[in-house]
């Protein structure tokens, strides 16, 4: 392994301790009990409690903090500022940097961004670009930085990142067509779909779905679906996730208006 000359180097390799309780067999079939409740007493189409707080980082032009169950992340937006590296463009450029903190996941992550984080950055970028009026900011750069403080499910981090980023862009005064609300879910055995999976549920999923929408226009800006699912289940899952984004949208609006009163 390479030595990182800009950091204090610890052991070349380390493995986290194995906790004895983890040897107990997992009750994988008991995701939903007979009352159609999940382990945390949710229905299949219910999201976890959500908390959004805009404008908490004074140095940033816009910022937002979001909690979605165990998922916690902070977004800061800088810009529009001068574009010094990229080529000339008559409209603005948007960049996104998504990073899990080293302490965010069960397994400790490194300081350098890995491929998963880069992929998530691209997905968040693709979800936000249609909603922003970039033509109003020629030759400028808008930077979004997302730090995950706790990972309560990777797909929910992606969805929460999109939601919090649009709140942060709005508080930065960037002109937008609409806020972007995002929602995620997972596919399980027997063509079941559960909305907003947490970390435990994610271990047993056979596929997942993440959708980002602009609810005012009832249009989607981005959709990711992975896994082998039949068509009817896919349609129903899509409708459930889209309904969930409308609920998240009203929470976003409420939080933005509350901070002005």
């Amino acid at each position: 392994m390479n030595m990182d000359r800009k950091r204090i180097n610890g052991p070349e390799m380390s493995v986290r301790p194995v906790i004895e309780a983890e040897f107990q067999p997992q009750l994988s079939n008991v995701l939903i009990d007979s009352n159609l409740q999940r382990k945390d007493n949710r229905n299949s189409d219910q999201i976890r409690p959500i908390f959004i707080k805009p404008n908490l980082i004074p140095q940033a032009n816009g910022s937002a903090y979001i909690e979605l169950g165990d998922t916690k992340l902070v977004v800061s937006v800088f810009g529009p500022r001068q574009n010094k590296r990229m080529a000339f463009s008559p409209s603005g450029q948007l960049t996104c940097e998504f990073k899990f903190s080293t302490f965010a996941c069960e397994q400790r992550r490194g300081h350098i961004r890995d491929n998963e984080e880069k992929d998530i950055s691209q997905l968040i970028l693709a979800a936000l670009v249609p909603a922003i009026k970039l033509e109003n900011y020629p030759k400028s750069l808008i930077d979004i930085y997302i730090t995950v403080l706790e990972n309560g499910g990777t797909q929910s981090c992606l969805a929460a990142g999109i939601t919090a980023s649009s709140v942060a862009l709005a508080t930065a005064g960037i002109e937008m067509l609409d806020l972007v609300a995002a929602s995620s879910g997972g596919f399980f055995e027997n063509n079941k779909f559960l909305l907003d999976c947490n970390r435990e549920e994610e271990r047993f999923q056979q596929g997942y779905l993440v959708i980002a929408t602009m609810p005012s226009f009832k249009s989607s800006t981005h959709l990711v679906q992975v896994g082998d699912v039949d068509l009817n289940t896919s349609k129903q899952a899509l409708e459930t996730a889209v309904d969930s984004t409308y609920n998240i949208y009203s929470i976003m609006n409420l939080c933005l208006k509350q901070q002005l009163e």
């Binding site: 001068q82 020629p138 400028s140 005064g173 806020l179 609006n253």
Partner: protein, 196 residues
């Protein structure tokens, strides 16, 4: 005249496009006017008196953030000269239309944009020095790195400069500045003073 105070967020429909003109912070899509900023919705009435020229009221959203300060073509900017060579002077733009920028933007004054007369005889080092504070006008978005600025007007040019001795100099003509301490005269493209 102004009406009603209401807080809106991006994507909120504000009214039909047949009833309102679009102002700042709003846009039209299909048949509606939508907000594009967070802020206070305001309706500015047109003139009611004239029967033939009935104007639609203008709907605007006053953003909570100050609008981002970006130089645009025609903006009058104040900046500091950071580098000069025989063809151009590089300027760090600090103020745009009397409002300070948060981030510095880089502008360039080319040798042909320094003054409006005798363009072929201009020498950059007799018009600007590094460290001078200048007033200029944006004439183009320029290339990928910098805006193109011009000082080819009487009101544009150096507004503050320090002499070799370190004192702030006083402009004594269109092309000369004098140090009040050592009385040395240095060449600059001086701006016409404005007393606002």
């Amino acid at each position: 005249m102004k009406e009603s105070t209401e807080i809106v967020t991006p994507g909120t429909p504000l009214g039909y496009k047949t009833e309102f003109q679009v102002g700042e912070g709003t846009y039209i899509r299909d048949e509606f006017v939508y907000a594009s900023l967070i802020g206070e919705k305001r309706i500015i009435k047109g003139e009611d008196g004239e029967v033939d020229n009935i104007k639609l009221p203008t709907i605007t959203v006053i953003g909570t953030q100050l609008p981002p300060i970006i130089p645009d073509v025609g903006s009058v900017v104040i900046g500091q000269v950071s580098r000069i060579n025989s063809k151009q002077a590089t300027v760090n733009i600090m103020v745009v239309n009397d409002k300070p920028c948060k981030d510095n933007f880089i502008g360039v004054i080319r040798v042909q944009d320094v003054r409006a007369t005798e363009i072929d005889k201009v020498q950059i080092n007799k018009n600007f020095r590094p460290g001078d504070i200048i007033k200029a006008q944006v004439i183009s978005l320029g290339d990928s790195k910098s805006y193109y600025l011009s000082t080819a007007k009487n009101e544009l040019g150096v507004i503050m400069a320090q002499s070799i001795a370190g004192e702030t100099m006083i402009p004594i003509s269109w092309i000369e500045m004098q140090c009040p301490k050592t009385l040395v005269i240095e060449n600059r493209k001086c701006a016409k003073p404005s007393f606002d």
